[in-house]
Symmetry: C2
Subunit: 331 residues, 2 copies
DNA sequence: CTGAAAGCGCTTACAG
DNA sequence: CTGAAAGCGCTTACAG
């Protein structure tokens, strides 16, 4: 592979001049410039990004750590981050923590070692606070994605409160009073916000929420199925509607509903966050809170760029609104 | 940030010794080693991966370029690649070409500039042959993923032929003779293989395939809808079954079917490649050829590792088998 | 307008 | 068993 030295000697100039021509960082005589450019052509020279990064203390790359690469919503966020990064001329280093704090830690260290210019993290469920401390100590720009924290850090997520309130209003308007919430792992901030939003919204409507209708803590579809199924039989105290807080939870709960032979809608109303792709094509047509996942990813990059340009800028926390697709499952 | 010089001076040794301790690359007296390790602790030293890579001419990173980050199947492949890369201690650089040869080219150049140890590519629909030539000239290990080529390069994809044959057999066994194939962009090798596999399988069954039942070239769900819809009305010459070659094509075709008020199954049988997530929970329950997308990604990394370890190994082409989930849509 | 040279932070022959 | 030093391929003050 040709190096800058090869180009310089072929063009009969110094490496400084080659560098300045390539980076347009100081004036070079048109004639000299032309000689350099044709030497670049002739040698097939391409600048070594590694060597360049080492000198500039800037890599033009960012790191993204997601908590669950298997979830469609996170796949969309990754897509959004990639798109925005490419637009800014940044390379993207991707890692998946798979909800494992140890893997998350290792991924962050690897990215830090590679001197990424900034980090975007959707934290794992049991993520340790020390991790963010660590990044802050390195003075490395950081953006929290989807799973936010009560910290002085740039962040972008969705407004879970408002979406949940709209969903509860929608259901209670239709006479539902015994609504089961399937909320998953409450250490995950987005799920906790949905959980809290549900209780607040129900309270505002003057409705009790018995503990038996709060189904928390399951992290797989199978476990959710097992937890939900036994709670469905009772027509006096059982739920008339189910509200799932993620695609995975919805899958487990819906399977339970079907296993018990209940009809959606009819004997059971059903709504979910995130939900299923192309769900307008299938029965039951499920009312879904659709996160702007792609835009979440884009916005995270936007916040990071802003921070890189203005390190002293005040902390910014973005809450994007979700769109609610009302369908027959809640009629 | 502490450097190896800081560690060396604090430990009272040379940087060589620090390096050798950290890499376990030559024997060091236990006592010296201990001093080094505590100096590492004290300074919070972390090796700079950039500088290390530059010396070693190896970055412990790989590049992945996918053609359509929006498709669930590709998201799964990315996930598989990430998982396997992490297991091998490799960082993953991700780029999306969005089916645009120019973006694909730019992504490959960026990855090459960053000196990734190898490349995995799911090529864009109109990908230029020169691109692979370019990578070969750099002597950079390359693995083709999902979208294969008739070239002497390591590759991993699925066996489209056998899956398509099974699908056609399944349908013809049930009496279907007028089967519409919705095959999309035939420049995409996987789609072309499905297309060819269909014709071969039909021929083997002695069935004609009129051009009116071959719906090719659409690249969006909306365009597919527009192409398919007018072909459904005719009960004499129209199809009794539809076979879609990707999720996106299936969405467009299914919407057309529903728009025309046809019942699946009943008045129209339907099957698809890739398909929809959790489709066992929804009606119509659609017969689906499920690619082992995650394993495809894992295998691609496996091939790359093999090539890195044994540059002279013979070219390997892997064809993984898909699983067919037979459901009511084809009954 | 251009060049000689230092230096980014490592690894690795070479020498003892 | 360990160290001094070269060198990976760039960028960037410094000097003229």
């Amino acid at each position: 592979m040709a190096t800058i030295v090869d180009v310089a000697s072929l063009a009969g100039v110094s490496t400084s001049t080659v560098s300045h021509v390539l980076n347009e960082t100081r004036h070079v005589e048109p004639e000299t410039k032309a000689r350099v450019m044709s030497a670049v052509q002739a040698t097939g020279y391409r600048r070594d990004a590694l060597a360049r990064s080492m000198r500039r203390a800037r890599t033009d790359s960012i790191g993204l750590v997601v908590s669950d690469a298997g979830e469609p919503a996170f796949a969309d966020m990754v897509h959004g981050v990639e798109e925005a990064a490419a637009q800014h001329g940044l390379s993207l280093l991707l890692a998946n923590s798979a909800e494992d704090p140890a893997r998350e830690r290792a991924a962050v260290e690897a990215l830090l070692d590679r001197r990424v210019d900034g980090l975007i993290i959707a934290r794992a469920a049991g993520s340790r606070a020390g991790l963010l401390e660590r990044i802050r100590n390195e003075k490395k720009p950081l953006v929290l994605l989807d799973r936010l924290a009560d910290l002085d850090v740039d962040q972008v997520g969705v407004n879970n409160q408002s979406a949940m309130a709209a969903l509860v209003d929608h259901l209670t308007d239709r006479g539902h009073e015994r609504i089961m919430l399937v909320s998953g792992d409450l250490r995950v901030s987005s799920l906790r916000e949905r959980h809290d939003g549900f209780r607040t919204a129900m309270q505002k409507r003057g409705l009790e929420v018995p503990a038996s209708l709060l189904c928390e803590g399951t992290v797989t579809a199978a476990a959710t199925f097992d937890r939900v199924r036994p709670l469905l039989g009772d027509s006096a105290a059982g739920p008339t509607a189910i509200l799932a807080c993620s695609t995975l939870l919805a899958a487990g709960a819906l399977r339970a509903v079907q296993h018990e032979g209940l009809q959606v809608p009819g004997t059971m109303a059903f709504a979910t966050f995130d939900g299923f792709t192309y769900s307008d094509l299938f029965q039951p047509q499920i009312t879904t809170v659709r996160q702007p996942a792609f835009q979440l990813g884009e916005s995270a990059v936007g916040l990071l760029m802003r921070r890189l340009e203005t390190p002293s800028a005040p902390t910014k926390i973005l809450r994007l609104e979700s769109e609610i697709e009302f369908r027959r499952s809640t009629d």
